[in-house]
């Protein structure tokens, strides 16, 4: 059984077991996408609201496959110097001066200055270099924050898994890394990039799955409390809010409630801890008080009703 997590999964069921072993409760649909991406060596493109567990998938994959996780956090203006490679200029300058002192010829100096010694490897180049544990997991996080030029650059990297450094030549990965790209959809990613990936929309989980997640991630919570929390959050997601609570918020809230030694929900507690679930003042004002009590009453009657 222990051998399973270290191999690539052979079927969708395997992929499901792999994610489960990494303490990630996944849909079968997500497991299918993960399986395809691992099997056909194509990037996995995960889109969804903040806090639904997109980044977590990459972490779980790296952990349960025993590969190194290389993370590239995107931001506007991300360029090759920060994403791919950079030369160590101060050391190069010193080297030039030293070479002068040693009285070396220009040709040897040229070769030495642009050698591996002075190359600083950034995440993308690291991901293409061989690793002792096998191809690493490359997480390109929040790609929508980067600008279009960087997205265009990624096209080459993700289709051929190679980068070109003018002074050194082309560096190609011995075997392609496992690539996970996430996006919060603050802008639309170009179709050309998505076409090279397996696309999956990570949605909010349904009640049974969220219950599973909570049992795994917040095991200290009482059974009754967990059910109420899930019921409440599921109802909250049907409200018209600026930012709906994600799974991460549900887990945070449950942990907070456990710390407060609550075994069931009551209106006062909900009002006091609403900040763990909702992150906008407008949303909090809308829910706090009457609305929260109403939702809570609904949850309680539903849970009390015999199945």
């Amino acid at each position: 059984m222990t051998s399973i997590p270290l191999r690539s999964p052979a079927s969708v069921d395997d992929a499901l077991a792999l994610l489960r072993a990494g303490r990630y409760v996944a849909d079968r649909s997500l497991a299918t996408a993960v399986f395809l991406s691992l099997r056909l060596h194509r990037p996995l493109f995960l889109e969804g609201e903040a806090g639904v567990g997109k980044t977590e998938i990459a972490k779980v994959l790296s952990e349960s496959l025993g590969r190194r996780l290389i993370r590239l956090q995107c931001y506007e203006g991300l360029d090759t110097a920060a994403a791919v490679y950079e030369w160590n200029y101060p050391r190069q300058m010193i080297e030039i001066r030293l070479a002068e002192a040693r009285d070396e010829s220009r040709e040897t100096l040229d070769e030495e200055i642009f050698s591996d010694r002075f190359l600083i490897r950034r995440p993308l180049l690291q991901a293409l270099s061989p690793q002792p544990e096998g191809p690493p997991v490359l997480l390109i996080d929040e790609l929508d924050r980067a600008d279009e030029p960087f997205e265009a650059y990624l096209l080459e990297v993700l289709s051929d898994f190679q980068v070109t450094i003018p002074e050194l030549g082309t560096i190609k990965a011995p075997s392609p890394p496992i690539v996970v790209i996430t996006s919060n959809r603050t802008r639309e990613i170009h179709d050309a990039l998505k076409r090279r990936c397996f696309y999956y929309w990570v949605d909010y989980p349904d009640a049974p799955r969220e219950l599973d997640i909570l049992k795994l991630k917040a095991p200290g919570a009482a059974e009754e409390l967990t059910k109420q929390v899930v019921g409440f959050v599921q109802k909250l997601r049907k409200e018209e809010l600026f930012k709906l609570p994600g799974v991460a918020e549900t887990i945070d809230w449950t942990k907070a409630l456990v710390e407060l030694d609550r075994i069931t929900l009551d209106p006062a507690t909900v009002n006091d801890t609403l900040g763990a679930l909702l992150k906008y003042q407008d949303d909090i004002n809308k829910i706090r008080g009457n609305e929260a009590s109403r939702l809570l009453r609904e949850v309680q009657t539903e849970l009390a009703a015999p199945r």
Binding site: A10, S11, V12, R28, S29, T32, A33, F35, L36, S37, R39, L40, E47, Y75, E76, G77, L78, D79, A81, W87, Y89, Q92, M93, I96, A99, E100, R106, L109, D110, I113, D144, R145, D147, P149, N184, R185, T186, R187, E188, D191, K194, R195, F198, Y199, Y200, W201, E240, F242, D282
Partner: protein, 415 residues
Amino acid sequence: MSGTADSSADPEADPGTGALTANLMHFARALRAAGLPIGPGRVIDAVHAVRAAGITNRTDFYWTLHAIFVNRRDQHDLFDEAFRLFWRDPQLLERMMAALLPQLQLPPDEARKPTTRRIAEALRGNEPERRAEPEKIEETVDATLTWSDREVLRTKDFEQMSNDEVEAAKLMMAKLRLPFAPVPTRRYRPDPAGARADLRATLRATLRTGGDLITLKFRTRRTRVPPLVVLCDISGSMERYSRMFLHFLHALTNDRSRVFTFLFGTRLTNVTRYMRFRDIDQSLARVAGAVEDWSGGTRIGHSLCEFNLRWSRRVLGQNAVVLFISDGLDRDAGAGLAREMERLHKSCHRLVWLNPLLRYEGFEPKSQGMRAILPHVDEFRAAHNLASLEDLITTLGEPATTPARSAFLWQGKAA
């Protein structure tokens, strides 16, 4: 076990899956006909993927194809429907497609129609094309103003223009360009007068001289125009203006990248994609097809709420400038408008309100809708003739150093 995986590398090797390949191809064609952008490469991908995953059960098969063919969240429903239909009885769909095929070639012809109509019109001479506008005004205007001169056209209210003048104004409008003050990005370009040292270029230059001299090279930040988001009111009171603005917006969209256009009356419609057609008639035809609330009432607060909830995070990133085009006359009497306007203002870089009502001397923003909007805009401008649009263009070209100056002036009047 690994043997089967290896054979998945070449689809031609195994003749046994011929029927599946053909079916996948037909399915892809069905999806393409339904509007998903699917090329032949995607079909090959699908064959590979299905081989890798195997066909064990319907759910896995569904999600395998889903991972290949679906690229955006809004395509999910289309895919779902097509999958359900197709894989229940492929022959049925094939027959349907065969029957539909001749019609599928129709849309391009259809789309060309407005153009031919325009050519026909050009040959035949001008005929009134707007049925909705009251005939009376047209007649009086045509009688009193038989001349049309560029200068007069510039200062003439859109509402009082005759058809000929409207056409001329549209042409002039298409030539207007919005020079937004560019904002600095975090990227650099080489610049001898730059403030930062470009070490990479320096080192290369140094090596070129053999390392004897280290000549410093400099770089400076690149600048870029911010994205532009247009929210245009198309309610009854704005009708004449909004139709003119569509021409303006079309010119704008085709002039530069990152322009997003939304129209609202009682509800919000995103027409960004339609505005990208090169041909203005094609654009307008598509827009007319997509918008259901032309010349109806206005629910500004409701529409803005929809924008804030569904679109603001997707289009207002990267320092977007918002052009809010409306007369501020609200059917809901400004209910919830102030709150939504405040949110909009806080999530964009600069908010400019264009109001055609501002043309009247002694205009005072007294209506509840206007008073709700006014405190939250950076700039408040007239937009009733070409001159005012040109005026707008010059101010937008200046960096927003003193925001809200013009808005402050008007707030005094509203109080």
